[in-house]
Amino acid sequence: MSKCTITLQHETKHRIDMRWLGRAMQSQLSSKETLKHTLQIGKKTVTVGEIFSIEGKLSSSDIQLSKTTTSCDYVGYQLPASKILTVDGHVGHYAGAELAGGQLNIEADTLDYTGCGMKAGVLIINGNSGDYLGGAYAGQKKGMAGGTILVKGNSGDFTGDLMRKGLIMVTGNIGHYCASRMIAGTITNLGTVGENIGQNMRRGTLLLPELPKNMPAYYENCGRHNLGYLTLLLHELRKYDSEFRSLHPMRRRVQRYLGDTSVNGLGELLIWIG
């Protein structure tokens, strides 16, 4: 099936809620019907057709979103399985929110709450990501609940906040409060990590290349181990075209810490050795 291209025709200073795209795909609307869909831009109500053009069929499995800006929120919202959405520019908040099995490729940066409430699928960000990557909507208790996020740059603070399941891979640095309130899942990076990692972490895994500068006191040192599970994880990490492929596939020696002890947490902080 041929590619479908959606292009932002008019830039606006107001935020653009892109949930219409996810909903149109979920409802299997035609391109023509979708263009009649109404949007709230600032105080104005406009149709999708007034600010976007759609070339090709929306039922196509391969969709390109062009000329987006950081004003575009909820790009890839509830993207269903078997759909690949490629975005050639920056996007705003909530990119890949509630992703439902599809693959979302973003060529540039995203703002906050990227992949929040994500359920399944793959989200690849070639630039940097903002705060609360893989987190939960403000006020909600469920963060990312499945799927994989790969950031080929840096991610902001509160990465993996309230994360329940899935995998977050960051090739660069991660900000402060990484894995805070984490319930399960795995977060790993190849760069540095900020302060106060794993606060109120209950379970889950934070796998880092080196000890943080200020190692929190609420983690217990459980010694050095060869963990067989890491071979399975490395197999998964190396599936994606990223710097994680430089890790040796049979690497499994780590220093293990358990915490957050202040909440009787069994979250694990693993530091690669050797």
Partner: protein, 299 residues
Amino acid sequence: MNINGVVIDDTFSEAFSMRATRIIITAINYKWARHAAETMTGFATSVIGCRVEAGIERHLSNNETPDGRPGISVLLFSTDRKTLQKQLEARIGQCVLTCPTTAVFAGMYTEDRIALGKNLRYFGDGYQSSKYLSDERYWRIPVMDGEFICQETTGVQKAIGGGNLLVFARSISQVLLACEAAIDSMTALPNVILPFPGGGVRSGSKVGSKYPALSASTNHRYCPTLKGKADSVLDKNIEAVMEIVIDGLSKEDVAMAMKVGMEAICDLGKSQGIEKITGGNYGGKLGEHHFHLREIISE
């Protein structure tokens, strides 16, 4: 039909529908993987007495296993899904979980799944944790040598059990020679196991017994020490009969194993004391699958 002097009887072997699963056991080296595999496939010769038939399918290289370590694939067969699951969990819990350095993974991916580590995880007493990787769930159970890794479920599929060959020879040593040659050829094939000790059976059974409590008893018509009895099927020059029982994932797998087995026996020929190959059946009334020996070896 006569190949190299060996008579291929004009009959069929009768086999039954079963349910089967495959698991992969890995360990730090083959030695420990094999200890686990041999222990868990012990006392698993016949569903009649053991509830499950199990055997080692083959060794797996580091590249073929999920965790990149040496592994062994094991096939288990039972009459129904529920029994298979119960036996699998019991055997993994007692024989693989307990074996140093092992991990266990699904060896079959079908829509129908049975528990592998799903319930074993409770051994972790709350310290167990799970990981979802590529839509598969793995359990990590803390044990005294680190962690026991087990996949949550494995696939289960329809299969065939009880395919067989009966080999007649002029002496015990000659029948063993023939069976060992056949077993070596058959065990090299994928998707089949020979669940009896070493692959051979000397106590072929018939349905029923003069004793009401027994559902099966010795197949006296094939016992050389009873040759003089009227219903014996053995000629006077036959001194030993051996059976090879085959369980396979499909009809084609069982037929292929029977074919290579018969060919290996016929290669030895009558000059090695091998007189006849026949098949065990119950008149075609009990098993759904009939493997006609002459058709199979002619294919």
